[in-house]
């Protein structure tokens, strides 16, 4: 996901970062506004679409009954897949086949700390498996952050049917899954973090890099921050070095930006919920932009 930039473009971006005034007028630690729409894919347990700049990510969550992880028999589990839509970016994006698996494993790692004991149905035998399938519709920079926001929003939107477990008297267990749309449980997503990606340009780091800025970043650090401000994952994925002191500063700003992002996401979701309660038949989904434009 990089562009080929000329030396002059790169110097221009670096000079902007050094002066704490980026090409779109932001400061180094300013985040662009993002939009969230949740519950927009009908045959899922939960879904969300997050747009930040031109980057556009759709996440669908499906809950299915399956077997728990042998190492954690009393917990449910997550399965994460990430796909780039074939229209997501220019051909330049295809130079790295690893990106999809890297994104998926990063998301899976950030979810490791989440307590899933509520998803256990029969310990060691049956549990809810939460399939998180992300589709990157447009990749135009900062995919990690947008993906993690979309995952959190989709999990917040996820409703899991209640299950009645009964013993048939012969030691066999029968499960009855409720089909009442109101007889559902929500996921406890308080421990789900967001990823803040910091890109090093020159001697400084910036958050929420555009694709141009990403293309001239020397190295990138992904930090997963939860609502308490604790780090759930820190990883530096790209080549190129970073000075320890700059790294510490970066971690500090990741903590602030991450907490801010989480509260912003929370507020956006609440606002959406309220709007839906007031206007249940309002236009939502993929054609709303077109309709409001015409």
């Amino acid at each position: 996901m990089t562009l080929a930039l000329s030396r002059f473009e790169q110097e221009d971006i670096a000079a902007g970062v050094a002066a704490n005034l980026r090409s779109d007028g932001r400061l180094r630690t300013d985040y662009r506004p993002f939009t969230v729409e949740s519950g927009i894919v009908s045959n899922t347990s939960g879904s969300a679409r997050v747009r930040l700049g031109l980057t556009d990510v759709l996440v669908g969550v499906k809950a299915e009954i399956g077997e728990p992880d042998q190492a954690k028999p009393t917990q449910g589990r997550f399965e994460v897949t990430v796909d780039f839509s074939s229209t997501s970016a220019s051909a330049a994006a295809f130079d790295d086949d690893n990106t999809e698996t890297e994104l998926a494993s990063a998301i899976a790692r950030t979810l490791k700390g989440v307590d899933l004991s509520a998803l256990c149905i029969v310990p060691g035998e049956q549990c809810w498996v939460i399939y998180i399938d992300a589709l990157i519709l447009v990749a135009a920079g900062n995919a990690y952050d947008v993906l993690s926001l979309a995952v959190r929003a989709a999990l917040a939107n996820t409703r899991i049917p209640k299950v009645e477990v009964s013993d048939d008297g012969h030691g066999r267990v029968e499960l009855e899954v409720s089909d009442d749309p109101h007889h559902v449980t929500e996921l406890d997503i308080r421990a789900v973090p967001v990823i803040v990606t910091l890109s090093k340009i020159g001697a400084f780091h910036i958050v929420d890099a555009t694709i141009e800025e990403e293309s001239c970043a020397k190295s990138r650090v992904h930090v997963a921050v939860d609502s308490k401000g604790a780090f759930c994952m820190v990883t530096k994925a790209s080549a190129g070095g970073i000075e320890p002191q700059l790294l510490f500063d970066a971690l500090e700003s990741a903590k602030q930006v991450g907490q801010h992002l989480l509260s912003q996401l929370e507020a956006t979701l609440k606002q959406e919920e309220r709007a839906l309660a007031m206007f249940p038949n309002s236009q939502r989904g993929f054609l709303t932009d077109l309709q409001s434009a015409t």
């Binding site: 042998q70 698996t101 000075e243 790294l247």
Partner: protein
């Protein structure tokens, strides 16, 4: 630590830290024969890394039951290999070896904690043994973090890793003090993370000296053998 353990490789090294035993071999610089490698012209060498984990490498508790566990283990190995390559990439002078690939093969014989750091160190030694130009030797170290007591454990064992709230691994290019790889999984606070990374850095500096000594003594050894066959 020792170098030159695999005779037919361009360079190789073996590293042992109690129960953690890692072997690395470097093949190259050689013609890039991987898929797509021949079609496109590369001004820089490509650094590739493969990791194989012996089936008996880790203790039994990460059970290998079912196909699910195996596929996720394979994914973890790929991630591991990418991390090793990332750590070393910025140090190897890839621009010196146009059109070629440098292939690193890591075998983890035993994993008693800190396998990633050990693999990176072992690869660095193997690269140096192969005579591949580097800006500096990258050294890596890992720590285990305990969130409730604010303790940072240096070079943890597998048991300590499994009980810690977080594990951090950092690779450092010692001469110009640049972090080339950073990887922390598990929960920790800002303060604790910073403390952990500082601990990793000071371990890296110590390791750097040790690795230099190993290289020098292996060279001296080799010269002696050549003079007195």
């Amino acid at each position: 630590m020792s170098t030159g353990t695999v005779s037919h490789a361009n360079g190789s090294a073996y590293l042992e830290l109690a129960g953690t035993r890692v072997m690395a071999a470097v093949y190259g610089p050689r013609e890039n024969t991987r898929a797509g490698g021949l079609q496109q012209f590369n001004e820089q060498a490509v650094l590739q890394c493969d990791v194989a984990r012996a089936p008996f490498a880790s203790p039994r508790d990460d059970a290998r039951i079912g196909t699910d566990a195996n596929t996720s283990a394979a994914a973890a190995d790929r991630q591991f290999a990418t991390s090793v390559a990332t750590a070393l990439q910025s140090s190897v002078r890839l621009e010196k070896y146009a059109k070629s690939s440098i292939d690193l093969f890591v075998t983890i014989i035993g994993d008693d904690g800190g396998a990633l750091a050990a693999s990176i160190n072992c690869c660095t030694l193997a690269l140096a043994d192969a005579g591949i130009e580097m800006n500096d030797m990258v050294t890596a170290a890992s720590v285990a973090l305990a969130a409730n007591t604010n303790i940072v454990l240096w070079d943890p064992t597998h048991l300590e890793e499994s009980r810690a709230s977080a594990i951090a691994t950092q690779a450092l290019r010692v001469s110009d003090n640049l972090v080339t790889l950073l990887d922390q999984s598990g929960e920790s606070s800002l303060k604790l993370s910073v403390k952990a990374l500082e601990a990793c850095s000071s371990m890296s500096v110590q390791l750097h000296g040790l690795m230099q000594q190993t290289l020098v003594s292996s060279l001296l050894e080799r010269r002696k053998q050549q003079l007195l066959p």
